[in-house]
Amino acid sequence: MSNISLTDILKEFRDPARDSLIPILQREQQQRGFISKEAMIVIGEKLNLPVSKVYGVASFYNQFRFNAPGLHQIQVCRGTACHVKGSSTVLDSLEMDVGCKSGETSKDGLFSIEVVACVGACSLAPVVVVDGEFHAGMDSTKMRKINKTLRKVHNAER
């Protein structure tokens, strides 16, 4: 898929005004998987909005990401069942292990973490989804093992 540039996205909107902000943000995220600082500045200029407002709106919605997604995307379910079964411990140790918080991407660009509300697999709680694959009954040790494997594969490929 060849990506459409932000300049071209903005051209899709005739006389863009305040109410085009969210559609533009969505388009940009769709093309690049996240919305960069630079993109928000350009969008603000184009819509004649302070960039604080652009960031304010974007940060209001869960759907927007502000970091380039990592090579491997890890989603930790924080729904009720997973919570009861200890997903917060899994999340904490995961964040520690890869060195970034949820919503962020690790420095080496390998992992990005996301918290999701409920993936609809409560019988498998706590659930973690890695690159679309469900992992059931997670705990910190299992989590670290998965990451270790992914790192190993990555290093071998290099």
């Binding site: 302070p50 960031y55 304010g56 940060s59």
Partner: protein, 572 residues
């Protein structure tokens, strides 16, 4: 004319009025936290709720227009309980930091808690709080104390046309912050401090310089000089709850001496000096085909505003430093030499109604080798300093400023109000061009709280167009007209804060339209009553030129009193 029934009594109102203003006019006490007169109502705090017949839910009166026959109840048990619960919820996530808070004595949240009789903690909640932002030279933000009323956000956007801050995130993670949650120093914030005076709690304060001043005072090697801006003496009395506002210059000077300042100077003196330079600059631009319109440069938030939003108009800015910086420069040069003082042993303090002055004093252009100004105290900090030092100004005998920087004309005093610099400059430009003083030095069109004022002024044969704006969103309107090609304006005065310096961000918390108007009328009274009304008639100014500077726009003037600007790239 509409008629409403409020608490079973008929009440008159105008079409289009908001219910809250009608109720308040009736003397009915309605608590509010997010409401600011003149700004878009948001209904964020919901404390102002009332019952309106025919509506099942409670209605926020600040955001509700009146209609004929509206039936309103303001203090039913249901309302009292609802308001208390709302307030308790706001309080539940507020830190218990009152003992150490800047706003201990002026906090609107505390005031409401006691008014609504809240005496016990029924709710407890935690909010994830972003940390303290001390990156700005002028403003300190403590988001942990923020109650999300949004007053600062609206002031910054609607009054100042800046929009440096907004609501970030949502739910329990919501906070007020800059774009990308970075420091205020890299944002488009112009340091005006309007958000501070709007904030009901201790989430926004100035970057305090009191300790700098106290430390300097305890160093016996230093000579401590202080200057006070024209707006301060017409405001300080309010902080002592004087029955009617008054100019308190005499006792304030006595207080400054008692607090430990060795010399007390008047920024009004250097306002006169600014006028000599600026009026000469205007005359020279007009007669030599220089860049017009010329724009004033004494309001540092405005200067930053131009640098970041209208860099192409920098050549229009007068090259004059502000009165504060001029006095700082002259103190550490001429005055130091005259008094055989080492300029590095002078500690120069300025008491200002302004937070942006802290930023201005820190600009690297403002001083040769060493800064012209070492500390800037706001009007609020002066009040605190007096308290810390046990100074009760109103028990002291009034005193005069120290010479030679103690004399000022009333033109210099007028700097405190929007339109004042313009009036003062025209008075002197008139003299420079025609050799005579104006018959009537008052320019009525420039004298009120209106956001944008214009006049055509005749100076001898010459007629010039002048415009005055206060509040940066008004400045923006004016600049956009100029950019669109308006050519009939030759001289523009901009003050960043509504009403001018008397409405500055360093003035008492909760400063509103009424208080600014009172301060303004005090300045006009001084102009009416005192005799020296022209900057060029200030004897000390003549002496300074004779002794040291030569004439306006001389080489020495340029080194010491003029400055330059830069194209500033910020997150905007």
């Amino acid at each position: 004319m509409l008629e409403l029934i409020v608490n079973d009594k008929p009440v008159k109102a105008d079409k289009g009025e908001m219910l809250l203003s009608v109720l308040r006019r009736q003397g009915i006490d309605i608590p509010t936290l997010c409401h600011v007169e003149g700004l878009t109502p948001t209904g964020a705090c919901r404390l102002c709720v009332v019952e309106v017949e025919g509506q099942s839910g409670l209605v926020p009166s600040c955001a509700c227009q009146v209609y004929n026959g509206m039936k309103v109840k303001t203090h039913t048990n249901r309302l009292i309980e609802a308001r208390r619960t709302l307030l308790e919820l706001i309080m539940s996530s507020h830190p218990d930091d009152c003992l150490y808070c800047q706003r201990r004595d002026t906090c609107e949240l505390l005031e409401l808690a006691s008014k609504l009789g809240i005496k016990e903690r029924r709710y407890k909640s935690v909010r994830s709080n972003p940390s303290l932002d001390i990156s700005s030279p002028s403003i300190v933000r403590d988001p942990s104390k923020c109650i999300l009323c949004g007053r600062c956000v609206r002031v910054c956007e609607e009054i100042q046309g800046v929009g440096a801050i907004d609501f970030i995130g949502r739910g329990s993670d919501c906070s007020v912050g800059t774009a990308f949650n970075e420091g205020l120093n890299t944002s488009s914030c112009v340091n005006c401090g309007q958000c501070i005076t709007a904030c009901p709690v201790g989430a926004l304060t100035e970057a305090r310089h009191i300790n700098r001043v106290l430390n300097a005072m305890s160093n016996p090697e230093l000579t401590i000089v202080v200057q006070h801006a024209p707006a301060v003496s017409v405001t300080l009395g309010e902080m002592y709850n004087l029955p009617s506002a008054a100019d308190v210059q005499g006792v304030m000077i006595a207080g400054l001496r008692k607090a430990g300042f060795d010399f007390v100077f008047d920024t009004g003196f250097s306002a006169d000096l600014t006028i000599m330079e600026e009026a000469s600059e205007l005359v020279s631009r007009i007669s030599n085909g220089g860049v017009l319109p010329m724009m004033t440069s004494c309001s540092p938030a405005w200067v930053k505003f131009v640098e970041q939003y209208y860099p192409e108009m920098i050549p229009s800015l007068s090259t004059c430093k502000s009165p504060m910086q001029m006095l700082g420069a002259i103190t550490k040069s001429w005055w130091a030499e005259k008094n055989k003082l080492d300029k590095s042993k002078i500690f120069s303090v300025a008491v200002m109604p302004c937070t942006a002055k802290k930023f201005e004093a820190s600009r690297p252009e403002m001083g040769i080798g060493i800064p012209d100004i070492d500390a800037v105290l706001t009007t609020r900090e002066l009040y605190d300093l007096f308290n810390i030092k046990g100074v009760k100004p109103f028990e002291l005998k009034p005193m005069n400023n120290d010479n030679p920087f103690g004399q000022r004309s009333t033109a210099g005093k007028l700097f405190g109000a929007t339109g004042g610099v313009m009036e003062a400059a025209i008075r002197t430009a008139h003299f420079l061009i025609t050799g005579e003083n104006m018959k009537n030095p008052v320019i009525t069109e420039l004298r009120d709280m209106t956001g944008i004022k214009e006049a055509r002024v005749k100076i001898g044969e010459l007629e010039i167009g002048v415009a005055v704006a206060s509040g940066l969103s008004n400045a923006r309107k004016l600049l956009d007209e100029i950019k669109m090609g308006r050519k009939d304006i030759h001289f523009i005065e901009i003050m960043s804060c509504p009403g001018g310096c008397i409405g500055g961000g360093g003035q008492p918390y909760g400063t509103d339209f009424e208080s600014v108007r009172n301060r303004m009328s005090l300045l006009y009274k001084i102009d009416k009553e005192e005799t020296v009304k022209y900057s060029h008639e200030n004897q000390s100014i003549s002496e300074l030129y004779r002794d040291f500077l030569g004439k306006p726009l001389s080489g020495k003037s340029h080194t010491l009193l003029h400055t330059e600007y830069m194209n500033r790239v910020v997150m905007k």
